[in-house]
């Protein structure tokens, strides 16, 4: 690998761009294939270019004879609505799992940098914040406030997005009421069923850290079932 390719790859990563590294294993020549440009000393055939761009969409790497195509996508994202206690262990586990994290909470005292150092924080109202975050199929959204006026607007935007996972904290009772409210707001049952509630895999979680593990386990399960 030429160091120019390595530098370009690291810079694409820094800019959070999706890029595929195409290597000819017989010659060592390589090209970086972006959505609409190419960089490097290899000139891949049209078929390989299409394959590389398709791989990026599906976040996979493949080998075709002597050509190896490796996908480099920006990190998966986790948007947490509610800068509550559970958010803290959840952030740690999700970071270790490779997610980049945004915490949304308009209640001033919650989403502070002293409680969440180094984390992207938004103090906007959840629906406004979520609309700006360009949710894609590599994004998971978790609501933790169990306050309808914060969770519901977030869920309404989330349910209209490509997010691969949507989960909502709250008991069975709380979730039943949530379903009633969302139905009343005109959201279809099909859509509402996309919400994982009560959130997390049933592992008997009690403490915030255990609940965070059960949430992260469910996000992982959903991610791999859908790919």
């Amino acid at each position: 690998m030429h160091s120019k390719i390595l530098k370009e790859l690291l810079s694409a990563r820094e800019k959070k761009l999706s890029v595929a590294l195409v290597s000819d294993l017989s010659t060592g020549r390589q090209a970086l294939v972006y959505k609409d440009s190419i960089f490097g000393d290899l000139e891949p055939e049209e078929e390989i270019l299409n394959h590389a761009r398709d791989n990026l969409i599906h976040d996979r790497s493949t080998r075709i004879d002597q050509i190896f195509i490796q996908s480099f996508n920006p990190p998966k994202r986790l948007i947490i609505v509610g800068a509550v206690h559970i958010a803290q262990p959840l952030i740690e586990i999700a970071s270790t799992t490779g997610f980049s994290i945004t915490v949304v909470d308009p209640r001033g005292a919650f989403a502070t940098s002293s409680r969440f150092p180094g984390i992207d924080l938004s103090e906007e109202w959840p629906d406004e914040a979520l609309k700006k975050l360009q949710i894609d199929n590599r994004t998971a959204i978790v609501t933790l406030t169990h306050d309808p006026k914060l969770d519901d607007p977030a869920l309404e935007v989330a349910l209209d997005s490509d997010a691969f996972y949507i989960g909502s904290l709250g008991s069975k009772k709380t979730h039943a009421k949530r379903i009633d409210r969302l139905t009343e707001a005109g959201i279809s049952t099909n859509k509402i069923e996309k919400i994982h509630g009560p959130i997390g895999l049933p592992i008997g979680a009690k403490t915030p850290a255990e609940i965070a593990i059960s949430i992260m386990a469910q996000i992982t399960q959903t991610l791999h079932r859908s790919t």
Binding site: H2, R60, Q70, S71, E92, S95, G98, P117, G118, I119
Partner: protein, 115 residues
């Protein structure tokens, strides 16, 4: 928190390349090994990477620790002669002390030098 998160991610996909770049800037020779094919139950998926410097330091993984030693050895040759190499590792034979995968899978690893 940011610092600890960074540390937690030391062995993730991205940091392999960051370490390769860092070692290069320190003037060291560096090679990257990438899993390009797998058969059966292999511990790391296609695309997994390991960066190796001339002193034998490594970051990342291409297996569950089964073949890394052999890959480091091959990487040193690739660093010396600058000819990329494609190496296939099969099932290990416990009796023969052969390098391979105890899990019964097979992997093909591409080793290249950073120029």
């Amino acid at each position: 928190m940011k610092e600890s998160v960074k540390e937690n991610n030391l062995y993730s996909h991205d940091d392999v390349l960051e370490f390769a770049d860092k070692w290069r800037q320190e003037g060291k020779q560096v090679a990257i090994a990438t899993v390009v094919n797998t058969w059966g139950s292999s511990p790391r998926p296609v695309g997994s990477q390991l960066a190796i410097d001339i002193d034998g330091n490594m970051v990342g993984s291409v297996s569950g620790g089964c073949i890394e030693g052999a890959v480091v050895h091959e990487a040193k040759q690739v660093m010396a002669n600058n000819v990329p190499k494609l190496i296939k590792f099969g099932v290990s034979d416990e009796m023969a002390w052969e390098v391979g995968l105890a899990c019964g899978g097979e992997v093909e690893v591409y080793v290249e030098r950073i120029e």
